[in-house]
């Protein structure tokens, strides 16, 4: 079956511009996570969605970052007024209810010039 997909695969933007990153989770996966991975670093949790519950936004680094998810489908991560330190790979993962395993997408590589 189809895995987690993310788009675009690469995004180059100028400092100060807004960007939107998209994640399509595996069908039937109610939980969805966003992570940030800086070059050569580990995965940094950003935000978690579970069904219709309020999202866990505890990992968002600033108010320039926001994310939305409608129901149990697509999610978008928005970064406003991008800064050079936002350059990273943004990974999305989804999970079935009551199962531990998270399935990751290929990521979006964001470069802020």
């Amino acid at each position: 079956g189809a895995g987690v997909s993310q788009s675009p695969s690469n995004k180059v933007t100028e400092k100060g511009k807004d960007v939107e990153l998209r994640c399509d989770p595996i069908s039937g996966h109610t939980a969805l996570y966003w992570y940030r991975q800086r070059l050569g670093q580990g995965l940094e949790f950003l935000i978690y969605f579970q069904g219709n519950s309020a999202p866990d936004k505890s990992g968002l680094p600033s108010d320039r970052f926001s994310a939305e998810r409608t129901g149990e489908s697509v999610s978008t991560l928005t970064i406003q007024r991008t800064q050079q330190e936002d350059s990273a790979v943004y990974l999305c993962a989804s999970r079935r209810l009551s199962y531990n395993e998270q399935f990751f997408g290929p990521g979006t590589r964001l470069t802020v010039l």
Partner: protein, 114 residues
């Protein structure tokens, strides 16, 4: 208390060697410990996972050893191959929140020489 410390940062072994990657945690509420493998340009993929009620788990050439009292766990790769060259991340999750949120280690870049 939410950190997972991973070592070494990088590792080079000869083909057939047994690289060992170590992780340590502090939060005793963690109850699920996965290892993820990541190739360049790809997202991480689950390799093997363990729960604290067992001390060892093997899947093919990959083994997790778990020491609950020391709050440590490690990944062993038997008969390593050049195709195992990748970055490996340990993680921990659990507790009562039900979010299954992972705390990841910082990663180990493994290179297996032919």
């Amino acid at each position: 208390q939410q950190q997972v410390k991973q070592s070494p940062q990088s590792l080079i072994v000869q083909k057939g060697g047994i690289p060992i990657i170590n992780c340590a945690y502090e939060n005793t509420a963690f109850d699920y410990f996965p290892w993820y493998q990541q190739f360049p340009g790809k997202g991480p993929a689950l390799l093997i996972a363990i729960r604290p009620d067992v001390s060892e788990k093997k899947e093919g050439r990959f083994t997790i050893s778990f020491n609950k009292s020391a709050k440590q766990f490690s990944l062993h790769i038997m008969d390593s191959q050049p195709g195992d060259s990748a970055t490996y991340f340990c993680a921990a999750s659990g507790g009562t929140s039900g979010t299954y949120k992972y705390i990841f280690g910082t990663g180990t870049r493994l290179k297996v020489l032919a």
